[in-house]
């Protein structure tokens, strides 16, 4: 009996192991292709798909230099995009713009490094237009997935990295770990240029 059970168990183990490894392999290899596509995006100034049938494209690079972590962020936060890299939540601001930019990724792949990020660490976000913005991690919190809200009136330049909490749980849960960071430096005064361009020609813009 043991003779038949052993190969069966081995096969089942192999399949499970394979699926687990597949998730990691997909996450790893996709990042390689994404890195290439992102470099091209910056160079050409056009969104470039990492592979021809992809339904998403790279929009930013997140780096935490102290721990040597880096990931290419994709547009959108659908499950399929998240398989390949962190996703930029569509409804939130772009990095470097006024408001809160939210990036989200799996705790066991691309954002595994989040637990190693300490308050005070510097997080660099390179956007698809090549501009880089540096943020400083200044707080972390744990919230339920549906309890997170952005104050649309807050004038801050904020970055939030989100992943599942707790880090080493084996099953999914409703809690999310959020790392909050505030903009400390940008390579160009981008926001000012943008807003003055969009209202060019309106002399009476300044409210009385």
């Amino acid at each position: 009996m043991c003779r038949t059970l052993a190969p069966l168990l081995a096969a089942a183990g192999l399949i499970l192991f394979g699926q687990g490894a597949y998730i990691h392999a997909k996450a790893l290899l996709a990042q390689v292709l994404l890195e290439r596509a992102f470099t091209q995006t910056i160079a050409s100034g056009r969104d470039t798909k990492p592979w021809s049938w992809a339904d998403t494209w790279p929009v930013a690079r997140i780096e935490v230099r102290r721990i040597g972590a880096s990931a290419i962020v994709l547009a959108g936060s659908s499950g399929q995009a998240l398989a390949f890299g962190p996703g930029h939540l569509e409804s939130t601001a772009d990095a470097g713009e006024r408001g809160v930019a939210v990036y989200s990724a799996h705790r066991d792949t691309h954002f595994r490094f989040l637990k190693n990020v300490r308050i005070g660490d510097e997080i660099a976000v390179t956007r698809r237009d090549g501009r880089m913005f540096r943020y400083r991690a200044d707080a972390h919190s744990v919230v339920r997935f549906d309890q997170f809200a952005i104050d649309p009136l807050a004038g801050d330049y904020e970055l939030v990295l989100s992943t599942c909490w707790p880090f080493d749980a084996v099953t999914g849960g409703p809690d999310r770990y959020l790392l909050h960071a505030t903009l400390i430096e940008q390579d160009q005064p981008y926001v000012k240029a943008e807003s003055s361009r969009s209202i060019a020609g309106i002399s009476s813009f300044s409210a009385q």
Binding site: A75, S78, L89, D151, P152, S162
Partner: protein, 753 residues
């Protein structure tokens, strides 16, 4: 010695077994890696639970991911080429337009071509001609269903046929059956349209592309407006039953060269000496024929059909005449068209009433790119124009909605500042759920306070397919509010704008480029800030008249009153009365002075048809009554309407039996300045149904103000971000471990002792 030997003998097979086990692990991991990489980019669904369910993929959505697919299908987009020539003749108050569409079939199949195109909403289509070789077939007006049957019959019989149908008052479809391999078929339609006038400026607009519309999924939301709403079955009606008919494929500009080259010629005979003639979005060449007459052509010959053509002209004289009368004799009736511009009240004479202004801004995905910048700039301008005594509020919407303040607030520095920063931070994304926003804007919390004039300023591109529901909402809820529509972008939905402004007793304006923002908003504000001409009525002294619009609208500063009438005789005069602010005003016009005009009967009939549709929306007449009026007018005046179509059939059969016919829906350009991903990308990834299912989930940002700060803010659902990779790895390893253990045990059992 023996001990060492024994040990040796015992170790060797054990070592061998260990080596074998290592080899096993190695092959195993190699296999795992192989499987992993092979399947790398296939989508095994179960492991990823974070994603929203993908919605029913729309056809334009397909076009994005399937551009390769299109080619393999006998060149869907390659099969038919289209060229458009638009020839406009402006004679005084009217525009006669001839639109020629050239369909060329370079392929090897017999093709039916279907082209969806826009026309100005005031345009009365009355002629269809089809040119096949040297034969010209003239279309006939038929009831829509009947026309369809005639066309389908001809299509089956292999005859060439053309059909012009109205999908919306500003969207038409031309179908051309049986275009043979290598053949070219010309289809020509003609329409009549009144010239627009605003203050000193006259204008015409040629829409060139139907912008992709947001068509909400069928939901029970529309219950309250159904007259016989009872069971669930009747209420779950699709808000856009004809979504397929108004959603042709759209090409991604990043991957395709623009299609549908269009040439435009305007023969301008203004009837007065021309001052400035200006094309707002296209480079043009003008050729002067005489003082009052010019020919305007596109400088580049042809342009891709991806934005509206807008031409304005002003008289050389200081001021445009304040009264214009035109007449035409058709059959046994006289038709009259009058433009009367009331004098503008001098503001010093009366103190303007304080205003309560509700600004609504559309930040849906279709507004992405230039449009949102224009909309934001316009709204920021508007905020800056508020007076200290005014009250205001700001609402933004995509498929969600935020109301900035719980109720309208005084326009003081602090509130305006807050609104300014709120507006500056807006981004364009998501669907276009316009109804809840309109409802919120019309909910009047200070109803009993009549010392304020209530105005709603609505900034949108109007890219929705359920206009009728919008109109019903406005008709039902407008109360004392007046609605001012601001059409944003290169191809706004003009029909929605004009009809909504009409039902909302307001005005509308277009902003097609950032340069226009200040000029257009200034004009709009002069309308908002100055008293309207109200209580207008017109009376003919001698002639019996059938007048339209039935109820004369209020007139804002600079606008003319446009009046069309059918008279039994051209005698006596017409007296127009009204009130400018609180002062009475009247003017008496002798009809004998009217100048000769062209196509006025069609304009009158088209305006009457619009009246019938409006009274149906307002529930002043039943749908059956309205249909009867529309049908009678359409058949008498040969107009294409909701209920009538033009059909032309070439009796000579051309397609031999046995040859099959392929359908080609002609793809459209994306309107200029739009971002493909914002429209189609978002639509594919998001499942709007989920958000829309109940209104309760609409986020009223500050409405639900409570001590908990989180509740006042825009909630963001954080995606699920845990994979089962680790648990699978662990479980797999454990199983493998057990298997190994069993393997070892069984081996041990067989080992001779």
């Amino acid at each position: 010695m023996t001990a060492v030997d024994a040990l040796d003998a015992a170790t060797r097979p054990r070592l061998w077994r260990a080596a074998k086990f290592c080899l096993f692990l190695l092959t195993e991991s190699a296999a795992v890696l192989l499987i992993g990489f092979a399947a790398l980019f296939l989508n095994f669904q179960p492991a990823w639970s974070g994603g929203l369910p993908s919605s029913g993929v729309t056809r334009p959505g397909d076009a994005k991911s399937g551009s390769l697919l299109l080619k393999s299908e006998q060149g869907y987009t390659e099969a038919i080429r289209l060229g458009v020539d638009v020839d406009l003749t402006v004679s005084g108050p009217t525009i006669r337009a001839r639109v020629t569409q050239l369909f060329r079939n370079p392929g090897k199949d017999w093709v039916e071509a279907v082209y969806v195109y826009p026309l100005p909403p005031g345009g009365a289509v009355d002629t269809l001609k089809m040119v096949v070789g040297d034969r010209v077939v003239v279309g006939e007006i038929k009831e829509r269903q009947q026309a369809r049957i005639i066309y389908e019959q001809a299509k089956r019989d292999g005859q060439k046929a053309a059909l012009t149908e109205q999908e919306r008052p500003n969207i038409f479809t031309n179908s051309v059956a049986n275009i043979g391999p290598g053949e070219t078929v010309l289809v020509q339609i003609e329409y009549q349209e009144p010239v627009h006038q605003n203050g000193n400026t006259f204008s015409l607009r040629v829409p060139m592309v139907v912008a992709p519309r947001y068509n909400p999924a069928p939901v029970v939301q529309s219950v309250e407006f159904k007259p016989n709403g009872g069971g669930w079955g009747t209420n779950s009606a699709d808000p856009v039953p004809d979504r397929d008919r108004i959603s042709p494929p759209v090409l991604d500009p990043a991957e395709n060269a623009p299609v549908n080259p269009t040439a435009i010629t305007v023969r301008l005979q203004a009837g007065f000496a021309l001052g400035e003639v200006k094309s707002h979005h296209h480079a043009v060449n003008t050729e002067k024929v005489s003082d009052g007459s010019q020919i305007v052509r596109l400088a580049d010959g042809v342009v891709p059909a991806d934005r509206d053509f807008e031409l304005t002209w002003t008289p050389a004289a200081e001021k445009a005449p304040s009264v214009d009368l035109f007449r035409e004799h058709v059959g046994d009736a006289d038709y009259l068209l009058a433009y009367v511009t009331p004098p503008s009240a001098d503001g010093a004479a009366q103190k303007p009433m304080p205003r309560e202004v509700i600004f609504v801004i559309d930040n849906s995905g279709s507004m992405g790119g230039i449009s949102i910048m224009q909309a934001k700039a316009s709204l920021l301008y508007a905020l800056g124009r508020l007076q200290p005594g005014d009250r205001f509020n700001v609402i933004r919407f995509d498929h969600t909605m935020d109301v900035l303040f719980p109720s309208p607030v005084p326009a003081d520095n602090e509130h305006v500042q807050r609104a300014t920063s709120f507006v500056s931070g807006l981004q364009a994304a998501g669907g276009t759920e316009m109804l809840p926003a309109m409802r919120a804007a019309l909910s009047d919390s200070n109803r009993e306070d009549s010392s304020y004039v209530r105005q709603v300023v609505f900034l949108t591109d109007g890219a929705i397919g359920h206009e009728e529901q919008m109109f019903e909402t406005i008709a039902a809820l407008r109360g004392r509010s007046r609605i001012f529509m601001v059409g944003i972008g290169s191809a706004p939905n003009t029909f929605l704008m004009t009809r909504a402004a009409e039902l909302g007793r307001g005005a509308f304006t277009h902003i097609g480029s950032t340069e226009q923002v200040e000029e257009r908003m200034r004009t709009l504000f002069s309308k908002l800030e100055n008293p309207a001409v109200t209580g207008l009525s017109a009376k003919f002294s001698d002639a019996k008249s059938d007048m339209t619009p039935q109820v004369l609208p209020d007139i804002y500063r600079g606008e003319p009153l446009v009046l069309a009438a059918k008279l039994d005789k051209l005698a006596g005069s017409v007296e127009i009365k009204g009130r400018i602010g609180d002062r009475p005003w009247s003017v008496n016009l002798p009809l004998a002075n009217a100048a000769e005009g062209k196509g006025l009967s069609k304009l009158w009939a088209n305006r009457k048809i619009a009246d019938a549709e409006v009274s149906r929306t307002m529930r002043q007449s039943t749908p059956e009554e309205a249909d009867k009026v529309v049908l009678a007018l359409a058949l008498e005046h040969q107009l294409v309407t909701r209920l009538t179509s033009l059909v032309a059939v070439d009796k000579t059969p051309s397609r031999p039996d046995g040859e099959t016919l392929k359908l080609a829906e002609l793809p459209l350009n994306l309107p200029h300045g739009w971002e493909f991903e914002k429209v189609f990308g978002e639509r594919m990834r998001k499942a709007p149904v989920e958000r829309r299912a109940d209104d309760a989930r609409v986020q009223h940002a500050v409405l639900k103000r409570s001590p908990v700060p989180a509740a006042t803010n825009a909630a963001v659902t954080l995606p699920k971000t845990a994979t089962d990779a680790d648990i699978k790895l662990a479980a797999g390893a454990i199983l493998l471990g057990i298997a190994l253990l069993l393997f070892l045990i069984t081996r041990r059992q067989y080992r001779p002792l």
